[in-house]
Structure formats: C-alpha cells, structure tokens
Symmetry: C2
C-alpha cells in the first residue's frame, strides 16, 4: 500500500499498476525498468506536454493521415499504459495496430492482443517473419503490417529497430521521453512526451486537421530542432532545481 500523503503518489501508483501488468505477463520485467528510465526524463521536462512536443504531435497526426499504410506498433508498456488511447487513435487515423515486442514470446503477444481487444483495438494477426535486418527477436514483424507500412508510429521503441525501420525507407514516428536516445535521434519525427499525454494529442489532430493542413504540418518540422527544444526544456528545469 502506497501512502496517499507520499509526494510522488501518482507516479508510485502508475508503477504499481505496471508491476501488476508485469505479474500478469503483459509487461516484461525489463519493461518496468524501461518505464523508470522514462519517468526520469518526464520529471526533467516537467511532467507536462511542452510546446515543441505539441507541435510534434500535430506533425505526427499529419503523417498518419497522409500515409498509404499507417501502422501503430504496440509493445507491452504501451498496452499497459494506454489501451484506450490506442483504440481512439486507431479510430481517428485508420491505422493498423501490430503488437511488436522486444522480449517476444507467443504468450505475451496473445496476452497483449487480448488486452487491446478488450479495449476496442482491432489488432493485426498473422505469422510474424524475420523482416528487419537485426539479430534477435526484434527482427520479427508481420509482412502485412510493419513489413509493408510506409508510416509507423512506435511509442517506446528500441533504438536499433527504429534505425532499421528508417533505413528501410519507412517514416518512423517515435514517442520517447529521452531526447538523447538513439530512438529519438534515428526517428523521422520524435515526440518527446509521455505516451498517455502524447496519444490523445495525435488523436485530436487526426480528427481536426484538414487535408491542406496535414500537407503543411507533415512537411513543416525539423526533428533536430524538436530535440533541441526538448533538451532546452531540461536545461531550464535544471537551472531552477536548486532555487
């Protein structure tokens, strides 16, 4: 039991929820650690959507709307944190949803698929193939999903896989709280924000953007500039840390 008077109550409650999801086999235990890593960076950007992350979310919506074959790649952490938001984004963007795991087992794929379906997500199914030029199970994905997608939204992605996907010519949109991560650097577009805050923003813009606006915002971003803004946010926060 976490005491309600603890100053980090909310953050501890999320940890507790994720711990339960790990016990159920939705999250890998390593996924818990990865979450902690994200927590630290969220703390450093002030646990809120920054102006540059908001703009990045708008460009992400534009890219999804204009894509021929958009896919949302969902891992255990994303499924545990934001199943409803995934369902709403899928409705708004018409993107396919594929479960794709770093620590891949058939059982986890099944459990995550079932969790997502309970929340109204339509999940792609099929025989995963080794389609990415990577060692390890990270290479697996569905030919009719990530394999043939032109735009992929990957919340909480592994850096290597992000790089492999962009090198295959795909447009990769990452949601990653660490602006210094290899994922954030390799992605075509990086949203430096917490996934439960970022997804509803993308969904909202998917609903609202006209085709003309989508064309404008899908081209009008500079990923290095977005990362630079996020880093600047951390600088400012550090500057006032000891006030």
């Amino acid at each position: 039991m976490i005491p309600q008077d603890h100053p980090r109550f909310r953050s501890l409650k999320v940890r507790e929820h994720l711990a339960r999801c790990a016990e159920e086999g939705i999250l890998s235990l390593e996924g818990l650690t990865a979450h902690g890593r994200g927590e630290a960076f969220d703390y450093l950007i002030g646990e809120r959507t920054t102006e540059s992350a908001f703009r990045a979310g708008r460009s992400a919506a534009a890219l999804l709307l204009l894509a021929k074959k958009p896919v949302i790649s969902v891992n255990g952490n994303t499924a545990a944190l934001a199943p409803d938001s995934i369902a709403l984004l899928q409705q708004a963007s018409n993107a396919a949803v594929e479960v794709n795991l770093f620590h891949r087992t058939d059982e986890r794929i099944r459990k995550i698929t079932s969790l997502l379906e309970k929340h109204g997500v339509k999940v792609l199914k099929g025989e995963a193939e080794r389609l990415l030029p990577l060692s390890h199970d990270r290479a697996f994905c569905l030919r009719e999903g990530i394999g043939s997608a032109d735009v992929i939204l990957v919340p909480l992605e592994d850096g290597d896989r992000c790089r492999a996907l962009t090198e295959m010519g795909k447009t990769v949109i990452a949601i990653d709280l660490n602006p210094l991560s290899r994922t954030a650097m390799y992605a075509s577009l990086s949203i430096v924000d917490e996934v439960t805050r970022a997804l509803p923003i993308i969904t909202q813009f998917c609903r609202e953007l006209t085709k003309e606006e989508a064309q404008l915002f899908s081209a009008g971003y500079n990923n290095r500039e977005l990362l630079r803004s996020a880093i600047q946010e951390i600088h400012s926060r550090l500057d006032h840390a000891l006030d």
Copy 2:
C-alpha cells in the same frame, strides 16, 4: 536473450540480473522501475564517477570513520546490485548493516539478509519498531541499528525517510543518481553516483584516510555545491548531445 551487438548491452544485462532478482523476491517490482530512473540519470552524468562525486565519497568515508555508531541501510536494489561491495565497506568502516525496505515484508527481509550473509555481510537482526515519524512501513527500523545511529549511509533511499532521519538529528549520507531528488536535497551529504561505483570509493577512503584527514574531509564539504556540480555535469552532457 539480449543480443551481444546491442549498443546498450551492459545496461540491458544489469536489467536482466535485476529482473531475475525480482523473480526471486529480492527486489520489489517497483524497485525495477526505480532502477530505470537511476539509469537515466547515470546516462546523463556520463556513466562515470564525476570529480565531485569522488570528493563526496571521500567525505562519506570520513563521516563513517568518525561516527560513534555508523549504520549502512540496505534495500533490495542495493543488495541485488552490490552485495560484495557492502561486505567490503562494512569491513573497512566497522559499520552495522541493517536491511530496511520501502516495500517491507518479513519474507523479503529474510531473503535479502540471506543474500547478504552469503556474500560475507554481518546483518543486524531484531524486532523492527515504528521509530520514524512516517506513515507506512517505511517507519520501521531497528532500535539498536538505524534507531540509535548517528551516521547512516543510505544508498537508493526514499526522500521522505531521508528527511525524517535528518530531522531526527542524524547525519544521512545518500547515494542517489538524481541530483534533483528529494533524497539528494534532504541528505546531509549526497553522492551523485551509481551505487556499484560509489561504494568501492568510500571503502578505499575508509582504508586510507588518517584521523586528521577524516576530520578535515568530514567537515569540508557543501552539499549544495556538490549537487550544483552534478547538475553542471548534466548541462555539459546535454550541450553536446546533438553534436
């Protein structure tokens, strides 16, 4: 299986070890997340002992050497990461070691005690009492250990408990990778370093410092200045992130 060619191989191996410790009940699942939080800050200070952390370690050794009743408070993460280092520091400092947990159960106390003993640590035992002015099981400790200690080394501590201990007039030495954490702010002396790097440095100084040097270094530090240096390290690293 983590692929050896993964750029974050070492960090992933540690995560894997901690995941196993969590399965064995040494670490709480929340401890895995806390570790990830530390990882992020370690990354930001460059995954090495900074010059100011080195000085902080020297002052920590001085405080332990001059203490009437030094105690090392060990939690699940510390036991999982550094049982040998704890044993060596205990030998060099003559400090008592008490197992003290945020997510306290008798079973975890037993398991962690047994792990530490296997690595040569002498662990204080007894009936824990509610001695700290805190809600929750965090209030529990041993009267003959933390309860009557004058100097306490707390690697990876909860901010609330750190504060309660200093308010009871104890000198609290924290090892915490986050220079902005409440723990780092409330501690008498904060070592902003990774626990497996910091402990051997303290041990080395416990062996080497003369009494005169210990008197010098136990007084000659300024915690705010140490935290400021750590924050400055992060600034520099952020500055070169996009080079």
